[in-house]
């Protein structure tokens, strides 16, 4: 495995399986039954040149739970970069202060440029339209964990991906990860103009998966195991698309009606979050709140063990943690970090 985690592309199935296994071993810590001090003395540079509170806090908390300390940087401007400092210089300077770096930046490729200047492990926390590999890994980990709970297998399962499949970096990365596994059935549903790029589909098909495309959620689906929805960002639309889309936007909102019509008791519903919960939003419907099939908060919970696994793997402490566990001493409410189905 590379010293960095910049993209899903170079990951082999062995790499991914290793991260899934390490994440599972992090669960006692993520669920707050035990604590470790394995990264005591280590410093994470958590550099968010673009605001993303959720992702920033998730990486921060994951590093803290391994015993390390975190230096956060937030905001759109980095004082020295505003004075003309290159990414090369910033990278070299930060490498002297930190043991690992998470970087989010609005420009595609910027995180890779930053990583090229350092030997310190760099994790891409999202580079604009580029990659956000830790999100895809926690999504796969969620499917894997939910399937284990439900007694299902990835092989032969039916996965629906819906929403903005053209610009959504999350679904691109997730489908690439899924394609590393045994053949499954993948249905793609998006409004016209926001379809999954054909080169991504070709790659998935070439690996033996069955891919179908639809332009409406009103079609007949059967045996759905996973419904993965994403937000359609109106700012992506051309004027022409906006007009044609106006009448159909609700068609791409997954809610109780959709589940009643097309799903069974063991289907799970996922979303990378945040979702728009305002009235009229064409996003995952809040009428599913409290439904045990809604896995979105279990999904964000899973960000902690997966990001711990990524840090542990890059900093090569994954085999030291079991020898360094102590029980949690504070009060932990039931189901925290475990299962919020009937919260």
């Amino acid at each position: 495995m590379s010293p960095h985690l910049l993209s899903i592309d170079p990951l082999t199935r062995d790499h991914v399986d290793h991260l899934l296994r390490v994440a599972a071993r992090m669960e006692p810590i993520a669920q707050r039954r035990q604590v470790t001090r394995v990264l005591e003395g280590a410093v994470l540079g958590n550099l968010f040149f673009e605001a993303s509170t959720r992702t920033r806090v998730s990486f921060n908390a994951a590093f803290c739970r391994l015993g390390g300390s975190v230096c956060d940087t937030t905001g759109f401007t980095f004082s020295s970069m505003a004075k003309g400092e290159s990414l090369y210089d910033t990278s070299r300077v930060m490498s002297g202060y930190c043991d690992a770096i998470v970087m989010r930046h609005p420009d595609q490729g910027s995180v890779a440029e930053f990583a090229a200047a350092t030997h310190v492990p760099v994790i891409n926390g999202g580079d604009g339209p580029g990659e956000h590999p830790s999100q895809a890994l926690l999504d796969l980990y969620t499917i894997d964990k939910e399937f284990a709970r439900l007694g299902k297998k990835l092989s032969g399962s039916h996965i629906l991906l819906t929403g903005d499949l053209k610009y959504g970096r999350t679904v691109h990365s997730l489908i690439k990860l899924l394609s590393l596994y045994d053949p499954m059935r993948i249905t793609l549903v998006s409004p016209p103009g926001l379809e999954m790029p054909s080169h991504v589909i070709d790659r998935v098909v070439s690996r033996g998966h069955r891919v179908e495309q639809r332009d409406s959620l009103a079609c007949d689906f059967s045996d759905l195991d996973v419904v993965y929805t994403t937000r359609i960002q109106k700012e992506r639309f051309t004027e022409e698309m906006s007009e044609s889309f106006a009448g159909v936007s609700q068609d791409f909102s997954v809610g109780r009606d959709f589940l009643d019509a097309h799903c069974n008791d063991t289907t799970i519903v996922m979303h990378p979050l945040p979702r728009d919960s305002r009235p009229g939003a064409n996003d995952l419907n809040v009428d599913l709140n409290g439904d045990p099939r809604l896995a979105i908060f279990r999904q964000t919970d899973n960000g902690i063990p997966m990001r711990m696994a990524i840090f542990a793997a890059l900093l090569r402490v994954e085999d030291l943690i079991e020898k360094d566990l102590r029980p949690v001493r504070w009060f932990v409410p039931e189901r925290v970090g475990v299962d919020d189905a009937d919260h």
Copy 2:
């Protein structure tokens, strides 16, 4: 006690007495004679949707002194909430990352809405005109501690509250806390139009306290044990009030003259801070700086043991701390965190 600390209202005298006792037991740590590691591995989400550096740092430092780690969020916008994320979603997501959450938000009721979606303890760090319970608790703790030092008792004491008694959430919460104790004499002084709401006064009177209202500090006061002053925020005034208030604003500024005229050697002067120290400000006068009766910095110092006590009580580690103490190893200047009377 509820899993959260959202308001003073549901607290009984037993709850408050418990917090006062636990805060007293936190003093060796707050005064930096000892350190504990009891919350090692725990993560606090310190979510400040409204800027308040002092309160944010106080909660942050209190959690660190218990051995925990802190993820801070500051600023008026929370990136995902700007995209339409509900407080419900934000709460569920943050609960998966953190073991306790402090939240400050400009909208009254927002912190309670946030807390309703989670089992993780939530502390209200101020919700606009609503509540700020940890401030009232540290104020009460300060009075209790100062009275113990001076050999006084709360029962039968004379407490003056002055300034903006209509909108000041601090004085509302403090008087509610005081009303849980044995009868005392409470004098309220405010400009016309900024009086304490009558429902608050009724509650205090119904519990046996003697309450008097005045509209000027030029009255004759006697035997004052506590002078609690608050800032009058001019932005609260209607145009009419501004005109009538213009000539009297200095009347509500407590300074050395007031203490010489109305107080004795054992009166203490408090203020929730920050105070406006600019010339002409109608706030607590800087001519009291260095006077041992000025308790305002002892008061902010007391925020650390009281906030430690709140965390310890909500996370149920208050009885574990004594078994987990180690001596401080660094140099601590005299009187730090103890007494700044003649700093």
Copy 3:
């Protein structure tokens, strides 16, 4: 030594030698071979009223590597100061929360005013055109360390300082530090109007050093041991200066040509960073990247052990650290924090 580090001026050679020695003893931690827990339980208030990500993270990481926790404040406004709070009040309040304070502020003298109100150690992290003593100390530490590596001595060495020598607080502080040592040869090169103030030169000369002034890098230099370059900030220029300077700005950019013409294999090139790497910038040329004589990243790396030494000295734990070392358990790439010459 004073309880604070506000300026280079009061430091004696004994103070500086002590800090250099303590910094050298911090290297095993800074280079991530060992960790310490000596400041466990201590809290740093890292107050940046002016943005400076690099300096903020460097102080933060240094405190974490000693085992402490950090409360960061960033941004141009401090919420309570915007409401009229005095530096005196802010200082007293923060002293109750923190064991040490780093403060950066745009106004000269503000950090000293803040420090006067507290017994908690305060470090000046830069007060506008005033002082930035930790930068000068890490610069001296870098020269000392590089000379030791190269078998050179400070006494009799030839040091070139170039760029904006009038307004650059960094070079003022560094030359004051150098002047404490045995006589050396110091050449100053700046455009007309940006010369080193004569009172600084007089002080250095009075201590037995040989100082020469030049107005161009095209002169004949010989036996340069250190080339210390600084950025010329165009916003410093009067209109008249801008006109006359337009033609010569590139003359003050140090790059490979300059090194080929005037330096040897053991010359080192320094810069306080950030440098402007944009095309046409009159700053340290990027064509030196990868040249082992370029010491700028070793220089920023040295900020960690020097700032650890400053904290250790002010908090008086420098003699406790050796007894509190544990090996690092995570993977550390080669040369991190050590030497990036051929990175």
